[in-house]
Symmetry: C2
Subunit: 159 residues, 2 copies
DNA sequence: CCATTTGACGTAATTTTTATGGAAAGCACG
DNA sequence: CGTGCTTTCCATAAAAATTACGTCAAATGG
């Protein structure tokens, strides 16, 4: 991981379908060298994949909510996670420190679906003690990729 | 938006760099027709863009946290949002209903950075009354794109 | 009911991009 | 100073994207 890889990530985060030639000229490399670097980043798992960013409202997913979940006992974890993985509407599942055990980001069509997801599905999972749902009214900012700190990466290289 | 567009979204969510020919064969279309459809989805804003999914840990962003923010008065909103937009570490900012006003998803290198972001930066924004930070220990699930409900889309077409 | 228009698609030709193989430059190591 | 390894570039062949153009079907309008 050097500065060039970094710039590559940054560019590919902004436009994941740019050609290697385009990216190469940003990087000061030829297209084969660029393709090779990106392939390596994928192999290393730095790049987990490429995806289209879909507007959730445009596909009828108008409602976003955060659902905090408390589990009765740790034994229920695996079963809980397994269920969560199967649920399309759960976009994120974080194991958190603090009052609750898990924080879910749920996206669905509307309140009716939310009711189904939270009251029926989540609460029916064995071990779920309680849930606390927070409705999202608007989302002024949402970026899928982590911030990039080039300076740190240079340091990381020096390891 | 018809069933084909839907399948296209679904495929492009899984692999954002697939060729139009590949996608076309999934869709039963030729590559020009495929490219045209995808271009239209972009124009309509259904596809907001294409991006590389970067592993945050691989780039030194090891810490994820949710920060709930309460604002004193609504007048502070614009200034607050403006500041939030400038902060790389804030990956998401949701305006929420309930006890708090905003819920931020923050990603940074470690606790030291979190301290800087929350205690120094966020709390120094005028109007921020209080914050409540929840540390993420692990993230079993995280998908950037919304769930797709083909059946609803077919209905939408019938409008 | 038929002619015309419009939109979407496929095929083929052209251009661009990617993949591949081979050679040279840089670098660590002995 | 040479050896082996890595990374790069260049050239060429293969593949993909783009463009142009003709066809078809559904919608439009007389």
């Amino acid at each position: 991981m050097d500065t060039i890889d970094f710039k590559a990530l940054s560019e590919l985060m902004m436009n994941g379908r740019m050609t290697w030639a385009e990216l190469g000229s940003c990087l000061g490399l030829s297209s084969p060298a660029t393709a090779e670097r990106v392939r390596r980043l994928e192999d290393q798992g730095v790049i987990k994949g490429f995806t289209a960013l879909v507007d959730h409202e445009a596909v009828g997913c108008a409602l976003t909510a955060f659902v905090a979940v408390s589990l009765e006992r740790p034994e229920h974890r695996n079963r809980f996670l397994q269920k969560i993985m199967e649920m399309q509407e759960v976009q994120e599942c974080h194991h958190v420190a603090g009052e609750d055990d898990y924080l879910l980001k749920v996206r669905c069509k509307g309140t009716r679906d939310l009711e189904r997801v939270v009251s029926d599905t989540v609460k029916s999972i064995p071990g779920v003690a309680r849930t606390r749902t927070t409705i999202v009214m608007s989302t002024p900012k949402e970026t899928p990729s982590p911030p990039l700190f080039p300076e740190d990466i240079i340091d990381a290289t020096r390891r």
